[in-house]
């Protein structure tokens, strides 16, 4: 099945009707004093974007709308990646170790999939199933070539099911540990489903060495409340592309957390879609890029139904030579998604010279009848003057660095609200800090 999502036609009438109430952008408030024809209103704001070099003048047509991106289960539908695509322009393709070239010049993706071990409460089922299981493909469709390659080639999938009305607590969590089996390109597939009114926490814990393309489907049934935490704490040589497709039911709530710590190249692409009204998506992310690491996070929240909410908070610290973090936050509010309430935030803290963070929030708004829409992005630097200041108060350099990073990342860690994980993440951050290059 191939599906090319329709590019949304421009309808400037929607804009002339109303203002976007409560839209804020880095302290800038749109209010009724901004006329539709002004620089903050009107069609110029419709294709609103920052930092994207593919975006033009912005009058009229929403150029390169996220809605227009190709989605397909078939690898053959995707052209070869050149690195010039908006979607790939930050990724060092050479370091993907072939994941981008599957099917080209004999490149295969048939290495052993990660070993899956699990611990779970009795009521939660964890199964290993074949490709033909009907539940596969219910939450999303690959949006890039690497994800499609995995979809076409995985041999077995792991399915986690929280039964209807299941009430898991924050101490009663399901953990899948996926241990990489070496550096031959491999494919993996995971489906996590919370049935109607189920509540619980599922953790994906990636470790070991792998060159892996993975699809994760997250299905959140009506009225369910699911937390999914995906931890990427691989060995230094690992390469991991993970497309995480989230489908949110009516009045359902999902908290999706991405923790990117270990690996040579991590590319995590979570996308959230709503099937009905009242859905609530909270996306949290924490990453810590060390020397030589490329950690890329690309998010997409597709508001296509009324009265849904999304909150995105990603924070990252970077240290060491050529440490690189990329955060792209695409939010699309379609014309029919009236009453949408969305806000996304990305903050980066650069601890040493030689590290680089790219942060690009993109907000496309096709209706003015929304509760609120905003974004904020900032990259700060822990510089010599800050260090000097803390040292003049008696604080040693290593403690000073920790103080700053802990404070910075704690904001995300606290919001995960799974005690066992919070503890582990604090330790992981300490470990990353201990590896500070001098």
């Amino acid at each position: 099945m191939t599906e090319l999502t329709q590019e949304h036609a421009t309808d400037s009438k929607a804009w002339s009707q109303d203002f976007i109430k409560g839209m804020t952008e880095e302290g800038e408030s749109l209010s009724e004093i901004n006329p539709e024809s002004g620089p903050l209103g009107g069609s110029a704001a419709k294709a609103h974007s920052h930092g994207g070099d593919s975006h033009g003048g912005g009058v009229g047509v929403p150029d390169s709308s996220r809605a227009g991106r190709l989605t397909s289960y078939k690898l053959a539908d995707f052209p070869a990646i050149t690195g010039r695509e908006e979607d790939w322009r930050f990724t060092p393709l050479k370091r993907l170790r072939g994941l981008d070239r599957v099917g080209i010049k004999g490149q295969e993706i048939n290495g052993p999939a990660p070993l899956v071990e699990f611990s779970s409460p009795d009521a939660v089922s964890v199964e290993t199933v074949g490709r033909d299981d009907v539940r596969i493909g219910s939450a999303g469709i690959p949006e890039d070539r690497v994800a499609a390659a995995a979809w076409e080639h995985f041999s077995e999938a792991t399915i986690v099911t929280l039964p209807a009305n299941y009430e898991g607590t924050i101490d009663d969590i399901t953990t899948l540990t996926l241990t990489g089996q070496g550096d031959a390109p491999a494919a993996a597939h995971v489906v996590i489903e919370a049935k109607q009114f189920a509540t619980g926490v599922v953790v994906l814990d990636h470790r070991g060495t792998a060159v892996l393309s993975e699809n994760v489907e997250v299905l959140v049934g009506d009225g369910a409340n699911l937390t999914v935490v995906s931890i990427q704490d691989w060995n230094d040589d690992a390469v991991h592309a993970s497309a995480q497709h989230i489908k949110v039911g009516r009045d359902a709530k999902v908290k999706h957390v991405v923790i990117n710590l270990g690996g040579n190249l991590l590319r995590t692409t979570p996308s959230a879609r709503y099937t009905s009204t009242g859905g609530d998506v909270e996306m949290l992310g924490l990453y810590f890029a060390d020397a030589g690491q490329h950690l890329e996070q690309r998010l997409f929240v597709d508001h296509s139904t009324k009265h849904c909410k999304s909150r995105v908070t990603y924070k990252g610290a970077l240290q060491g030579d050529s440490a690189h973090a990329v955060w792209i936050g695409d939010v699309l509010i379609r014309a029919e998604a009236e009453g949408t309430d969305t806000y996304e935030l990305n903050r980066n803290l650069i601890l040493t010279r030689g590290a680089r963070a790219d942060s690009v929030p993109n907000l496309e708004i096709e209706t003015g009848l929304i509760e609120g829409a905003g974004h904020a992005s900032a990259t700060g630097r822990f510089d010599d003057e800050q260090l000097f200041y803390l040292q003049t108060r008696g604080i040693e350099e290593s403690v000073a660095r920790r103080l700053v990073v802990r404070g910075f990342l704690n904001e995300v860690i606290q919001q995960i609200r799974v005690p066992a994980l919070e503890e582990r993440l604090r330790e992981s951050v300490e470990r990353e800090l201990a590896a500070t290059p001098v």
């Binding site: 010599d384 000097f388 040292q391 003049t392 108060r393 008696g394 103080l403 802990r406 404070g407 904001e411």
Partner: protein, 255 residues
């Protein structure tokens, strides 16, 4: 009684144009209980002295010594100097995102004392010190200096002075940019620290205004990297009346 002794200090910085000498032989002895005002026109090296005492990496000490009760200060790292009892109130305090004032103050106190302060008394001390400096309680939860006004930053410098109890405090143009009300509040804080005893103060200022509120025992006039004149408080009065003109420096160019 402690003594901070600066002997024949020569300091330079490295710029794109090469090495530039800033301090050209400064000698100064300060004992706890004394307040020394260091005055001088812009570019005379006052702030360089402050930064050099604290150990800012930008400044190269070419010769001379700084000792604290005979201990070689120049051999200490920045944080060691602070733990030895030196404090610098900065002219331009730095913003530290992600670290709340509460967390920062407690960490600094722990570092300087070598052990964590007792929570109950510490919280009480911080609250009282904040109230005296007319700092709103909400500042405790804000990130260090982030979004603070110039006056708020200076009050927080003095807050730290009062809470950390150093042996010697260098106040680098703490008065600059303050309106009269803020200047009074800040000066009261410095006077409280002085009156508490055991503190030697080096008050660096361009103007004589702050000396109406904080009375120096000694006044040193810096001109072009060395001390041109020194004396008692009467020297400050004379500077107030005559300015720096008689040291034959072109003030207007840099003011």
């Amino acid at each position: 009684m402690s003594t901070l002794e600066i002997k024949d200090l020569h300091v330079s910085i490295t710029t794109e144009q090469g090495t530039k000498a800033i301090l050209k032989g400064v000698s100064l002895t300060i004992k706890t209980g004394e307040t020394h005002a260091i005055m001088g026109p812009n570019g005379s090296g006052k702030s360089t002295l402050a930064s050099t005492i604290a150990g800012h990496p930008r400044y190269n000490v070419d010769s001379g010594t700084i000792t604290l009760d005979g201990e070689d200060v120049l051999a200490m790292t920045v944080d060691q100097r602070a733990r030895a009892g030196l404090f610098l109130a900065m002219q331009y305090p730095v913003e530290i995102p992600g670290v709340t004032m509460t967390n920062f103050l407690r960490t600094a106190k722990t570092a300087i004392e070598g052990e964590a302060p007792k929570l109950r008394t510490w919280t009480k001390d911080v609250k009282a010190a904040m109230a005296q400096l007319r700092i709103e309680p909400e500042f405790a939860e804000r990130n260090v200096n982030e979004g603070f006004s110039g006056g708020e930053k200076k009050r927080h410098e003095i807050l730290q002075l009062e809470l950390l109890h150093p042996k010697f405090a260098v106040l680098d143009e703490t008065d600059s940019g303050l309106d009269v009300d803020a200047l009074k509040v800040v000066s009261e804080g410095v006077n409280r620290a002085i009156d508490a005893g055991g503190l030697g103060t080096i008050l660096i200022t361009h103007y004589t205004r702050i000396l109406r509120y904080i009375k120096p025992d000694f006044v040193h006039v810096f001109v072009d990297g060395s001390i041109a004149e020194q004396g008692g408080p009467e020297l400050a009065d004379r500077l107030e009346a005559e300015g720096y003109d008689r040291y034959q420096v072109a003030e207007t160019a840099s003011a």
